[in-house]
Subunit: 302 residues, 2 copies
């Protein structure tokens, strides 16, 4: 089986980028889209994110071989119920949500008898909305597919091929392990960034103006992450609660140990950790997952 | 009084960038340098970081109007003692250290009777060494000067003019307040980044390879900061202990509150914070302290 048409439900950063990537890299696949917000539909159509933007979810998914739900993970159940009446019998339903066990459960409940294969392209920016997407968002990034037990192997292969065509590298994983891995590499980093930006903006003895002026000391990197879509991230923490709390526990244990090292003036412990973490950065760059230019290649004022 | 020659002690990222910036933007000021590592001296001379690199600290500082110590804050006392015999009577001694009360104390003790005016250019990258510097590092960034009580106002003005010539915006602040502000905007962000990168690389149920592969979910931003110079940062935490522990306390209080919100499924608290933090990002960009391009303008694989 091969995908000849894809319907995208939710036309924000991820949905829009899929539409643009398909048009740029797999132009034989027809792209059809819908968003529940009429203004988003209009802007998406104006930017040409999809071959066609429809006014109803049923029309968007009619005859689509693949339907990808690109909505916050808390809205997956509703989105699935909205498309159900229009789905072709052979359609594969997938998604791009950042937590997978909860989404798998919501989609299975809303779409009995439908081929559901959840997925998560590990890619994004801090921007959101139909203006934010771009065709190369997935190039060189991993897409993790978390098929349910007993999945149709041809459908899995078709979905895997689809993401490969967009430039992604594909990995198959079970949903529970995905949720643990992403808690570390994505959810906890976001939670920490949101927290420190909140803490810094709420102090009495340091003004918000000072925090902003001197943000080049490191804080500004956290503000990027803490500018991510609030609804998306609220839903991630509510749906991946167990893994997030587990990993947060390990993080705070380690932070407490460092706090003790600072209090007791134990420079060796600090130095050892700070040396070890440099190696991780080198590996991230070697594997093509980040920009090797110093300071992310930021412009330096001139 | 005006600065006609500057001596840089320590030829790493900061020292090298000052040398290059002076040559690019204030070529009438002579640049002289020294580093205690002969290999660094050689590489610095080869890159032309300074007009001249000397073999001894006394020779480097002889007749210099301004001497800037660009060494880890824990090494300031030793560096000051090394230059003391060669200092011209009228010389101003300054530095670029990230903690200021401890440095002021160390320099005052090592250089009795000398005009000491500590300073901190809030700029840098995760790179270090004589190959890392570049002329525009300070352009548009703040340089915080923390003059001691009873400072010579002409010397202060000369130092302030010097940094302005390199493209910096200058702010005068007392050392204790500097240490509190930078604990928030720089030291705690670094401590958190070092911690989460350490935590992630030490897990049993998630491999280091997985952490690296899926780092584009947010983790990779932290690896940049956690690749910063280990000696420099060890010294920052040891010398700004009190302010760091104070701010760390506030951060962990806020993190505990978010942990509770996640555990109890309190989405409103999460959403409110995540919305508030977006405004801080906008202000950082509006004030020219970060790159406004999504994802720091990272290349996207093509």
């Amino acid at each position: 089986m091969s995908i000849r048409s894809v319907a995208i439900i939710g036309l924000g950063l991820l949905g829009g980028s899929i539409g643009l990537a398909v048009q740029a890299r797999a132009p034989d696949i027809a792209t059809k889209g819908w968003d529940r917000d009429p203004s988003v539909r209009e802007r998406a159509a104006a930017r040409g994110l999809m071959g066609h933007v429809y006014d109803t979810p049923e029309d968007a998914v009619a005859e689509a071989d693949l339907v990808i739900l690109c909505v916050p993970v808390g809205a997956m159940g509703d989105a699935a119920r909205a498309i159900a009446p229009g789905l072709a019998p052979h359609a594969i339903v997938s998604d791009v949500g950042s937590s997978k066990a909860a989404v798998a459960e919501a989609l299975a409940a809303a779409l009995p008898g439908v081929t559901v294969i959840p997925a998560h392209p590990v890619a994004g920016t801090e921007q959101s909305g139909p203006e934010a997407g771009f065709a190369s968002l997935f190039a060189g990034r991993w897409c993790i597919i978390t098929p349910p037990e007993g999945v149709d192997s041809q459908a899995l292969e078709a979905l895997s091929d689809f993401w490969t065509q967009l430039g992604s590298k594909v990995e198959i994983m079970d949903a529970a392990h995905h949720d643990l891995v992403l808690a570390v590499t994505s959810h906890i980093p976001h939670l920490i960034a949101y927290t420190i930006v909140g803490t810094a903006s709420d102090l009495e003895d340091v003004t918000q103006s000072e925090v902003i002026k001197y943000s080049a000391g490191g804080f500004r990197d956290f503000t990027r992450i803490a500018a991510s879509d609030p609804v998306m991230w609220r839903d991630v923490f509510l749906t991946n609660r167990q893994a997030v709390l587990e990993m947060l526990g390990r993080f705070t244990e380690d932070l407490t140990a460092l706090q003790r090292a600072i209090r007791s003036g134990d420079g060796d412990t600090l130095f050892d950790l700070f040396t070890r973490t440099r190696a991780i950065r080198r590996a991230v760059i070697e594997q093509g997952q980040d920009d090797e230019r110093p300071d992310f290649g930021r412009g330096h004022g001139e």
